[in-house]
Symmetry: C2
Subunit: 141 residues, 2 copies
């Protein structure tokens, strides 16, 4: 099981953004430098974040990104799903003979993955972006 860099970077970048966007749009270049993430990669990530209404952009000189809503309204689950970080890529449905179609013939572990998905989603639904910022030992550096 793993979380990809994309999801991690998205959270890091947004936390950075939350700390710096009180004074206006934050350009990706700044985030790139502060968080040590490739600018090109950040661009990809923010495109997705924008499409999912997590950030807003301003073009041109002096432009950059700002959060679309308050950090304490932004669930981490929204962030992960925006960048295609799926909680559940387990799929029991093998097309072959013994496939699990989720109905009549559930495979033996089917319910397990359902429960796990629920468990993890609960975690990420409770966590807000604001939980990550302005804490002593998790401060921006």
């Amino acid at each position: 099981m793993k979380l990809t860099s994309k999801g991690r970077y998205a959270v890091m970048a947004l936390a950075d953004l939350a700390n710096f966007n009180k004074t206006g749009p934050v350009p990706l270049r700044d985030i790139s430098i502060r968080q040590g993430i490739s600018l090109f990669y950040l661009e990809q990530i923010f495109l997705k974040l924008k499409k999912h209404n997590i950030v807003q952009s301003t073009r041109g000189s002096g432009g950059g990104y700002v959060l679309f809503k308050n950090a304490d309204d932004l669930k981490l689950s929204e962030i992960f799903s925006a960048v295609d970080e799926k909680v559940k890529t387990i799929n029991c449905k093998r097309e072959s003979k013994k496939g699990c179609n989720g109905k009549a013939s559930k495979c033996i572990t089917h319910n397990l993955w359902d429960e796990l998905e629920l468990h993890i989603n609960t975690f990420f639904n409770q966590k807000k972006l604001s939980d990550l910022v302005s804490k002593k030992d998790t401060q921006i550096r």
Copy 2:
């Protein structure tokens, strides 16, 4: 985030084993056929399960595998860790400038991954192999 096939297969195979090993060792070929998993792949998986004392083997004709302990003593977390299914492959420690060494300079999301790891481990520590067998709609098929 995802769980790999290896972890899923391990759980499926062991659940199958739990259902059939009352009458002696179960050969992998039977599990392979019943669960629709490649025999060669199962061999790899069971090698690891054996090294971690989750199953015992009997060689030769009439041989096969049996569970090392009772299904209600076997945590799913043990199974996953035996087949290298890591709950946390997030690592904040990028060697570069902005690395997170887990001590003085924790990265902004460090605590988050710690909490998540704990959350998921809790889930898998509570779940036992016996929770998967002998239930109506998750029955062996």
